[in-house]
């Protein structure tokens, strides 16, 4: 009996040790990094100490000037190192989108299905994957020695807590109403505050001009935007996806169905036909329709679809923005506005 017990116990301990020891052996660089001098901060988000660690060969790093700065974002203060060049983005595709606008190149980014989507190709040249969207790989992130980590407000607090043990972590908001604060945050982190301000101002003025041009043309037309996922047509609630832009900012009339929708709702083709929009925008991504890749085609060929006003008058716009765009980010909004203006504006 005892032998069996000890066998089991031994097995377990061996397993545990193996687990502990192996981990991510693939990415093994030695622990004492030979990376160029960066300030590593092992402080949790709300301490105000930051330690600087010298790596091999460096002289004493100058920390005469303040080595940290305080950033205010969405009514919360975060203490981050003065230089925040090494940014890791995890969980928030919104942050990646906005980085495109601000030309920020993170050192760690989210991969989708193991690689970086082409949408982000301009900014991932220096980046390594830190895991898929919802499960960041903590050890990998630690290895990258970031100055600051951009997480997501949708993250499980436990994940954010683990991340903040590596570096100051700021949860990037996924709520579209905070788009300008998001841009400003990126501006502060990258030292490009002017760019952020410029983008915001530009957007607002563009918005005004589009509004004045369009308002007369589309004032009493029904405009709607849907997304196709797994072959099913999804309609979104008024505060979600691109709807705030359409109905609040541009001031278009909100169809009753959109008002009735909560978050994301499946709508049948028949129902869409009953809604009968005059202008219909369809977002369709192959990634999200792996089981029904022809869904868009089938939809457009369906006689019921062709009976919709938008279809009859050639006012169906497919993928007006990149289908992976989240909708609420500055990037999404700016792209959308431009596309909207060019397709419908004249």
């Amino acid at each position: 009996m005892l032998k069996k017990y000890s066998l089991i116990a031994a097995l377990m301990i061996v397993l545990a040790v193996v687990l502990a020891a192996c981990g991510d052996n693939k990415e093994d660089k030695s622990g004492d990094t030979s990376k160029p001098a960066t300030e590593t901060s092992t402080a949790a988000g709300d301490t105000s100490q930051s330690q600087t660690e010298t790596s091999g060969g460096e002289g004493a790093t100058a920390d005469a000037s303040a080595s940290t700065k305080v950033i205010k974002y969405l009514d919360q203060e975060y203490t981050v190192p003065a230089k925040t060049d090494r940014i890791v983005v995890t969980g928030a595709l919104e942050a990646m989108e906005d980085s495109i606008l601000m030309d920020i190149h993170p050192v760690g980014a989210i991969s989708v299905r193991g690689k970086f989507p082409s949408l982000f190709s301009s900014i991932v040249d220096k980046a390594e994957s830190v895991g898929e969207k919802t499960e960041p790989n903590f050890e990998k992130i630690l290895q990258l020695k970031p100055d600051v980590i951009l997480a997501s407000t949708k993250f499980d607090p436990a994940v954010v807590e683990q991340l903040s043990k590596i570096a100051p972590t700021i949860p990037y908001s996924h709520v579209s109403a905070n788009w300008s604060s998001n841009l400003e945050l990126l501006g502060e982190l990258s030292g490009k505050q002017d760019k952020a301000a410029e983008l915001i101002a530009q957007y607002n003025s563009d918005l005004e001009s589009v509004k004045s041009g369009i308002v007369s043309k589309l004032a009493d037309k029904k405009v709607a935007l849907v997304r196709i996922r797994q072959g099913a047509i999804q309609l979104y609630a008024s505060q979600v996806y691109f709807n705030p832009m359409l109905y609040e900012e541009l001031g278009l009339k909100m169809p009753a169905e959109v008002q009735a929708a909560k978050a994301q709702d499946m709508i049948s083709l028949e129902q869409l036909a009953a809604m009968n929009p005059d202008v219909l925008m369809i977002q369709f991504s192959e990634d999200e329709n792996a089981d029904k890749p022809k869904a868009l085609e089938e939809l457009q060929n369906s006689p019921i679809f062709q009976s919709i006003n938008a279809a009859k008058n050639n006012q169906v716009l497919v993928n007006i923005v990149d289908p992976l765009a989240q909708g609420g980010t500055a990037y999404s909004k700016i792209q959308f506005l431009q596309a909207f203006q060019s397709k419908l504006g004249q």
Partner: protein, 335 residues
Amino acid sequence: MQRKTILPTAILLMAPAVVAFIIMLSVLYGAKSIHAQTVWDAVFHFDRSSVDHQIVRSSRLPRAVGALLIGCFLAVSGALMQGVTRNYLASPSIMGVSDGSVFAVTLAMVWLPPAHSVSMIVVSLVGSAFGACVVFGLAWLIPKGMTPVKLAILGTIIGMFMNGVADAVATYNQVSQSVSFWYNARLYQMDPEMIKLSVPFAIVGLGLAVWLSKSITVLSLGEELSAGLGQRTAVVKLLSMLAVVLLTGVSVALAGKIAFVGLIVPHIARMLSGQDYRWIIPVSGVIGGLFLALCDVLARFVNYPFETPIGVVTALFGVPFFLYLIWTRGGGQRE
């Protein structure tokens, strides 16, 4: 026994009328109310440019017909399974048959897109065969494995296993939401082409079911008894499994996994027509179709104007009924 056959006969005779009625109901009411006259015209004086006519033809009719057919197939499958295993909980969704289909189709979706309608059906059939074999094979291996409880557990476990594998594959390919879309069936996306393609398979399945119904009645009386009466039980079991696989496979290929129909309807049929499977099977078919069609109408209105997955509506009826069955029947083998 004469009295007992009055009710089922009546049901079967009335069936066509009720079916027509349900179709009318289903077609008339939906997102948009369409007048009966319009429906009539749509069927008989089709006008291509009218939206309403289009709706009737390409959306509502297929949907209604689809619901009726699938309900019928699943109910008959359930009746067959319950008869052959003498197990009141036997049904395609609990016993892993539907899960097998879904599993196979999920893998096919990820690894061999795009799939033609026919190949989808075939894949689905292979899947249900696989699911059935695994579950029943295991049940046969384990002592007292064919009792309701053990069989139900096995079905659940194998189902969970297949879901697990499908999940892994889906996660790796980042299609996670699609997997659950599949589990929740989509009756409103009925493809008329696919319905037509599945008819041959269904006819074979239904034909087998009806042909075997007498033998199943004997089988349901007990293993030794039927062997003693000279019945070739193995053959009967095999053929009925084939019918189940055909019918369930076709249903899943058409619309995804719909649970509880195969469980509940045979019991209702039994309540109405007694123990003779020659009645139970056809009556199950009729009631099954009507039940699902009704659920479909409900699914359209519960969350108006949006669609509710039909699996939720059937679960609404199914879970309480399941609990009721447990209450009255307990866990042992049926007498």
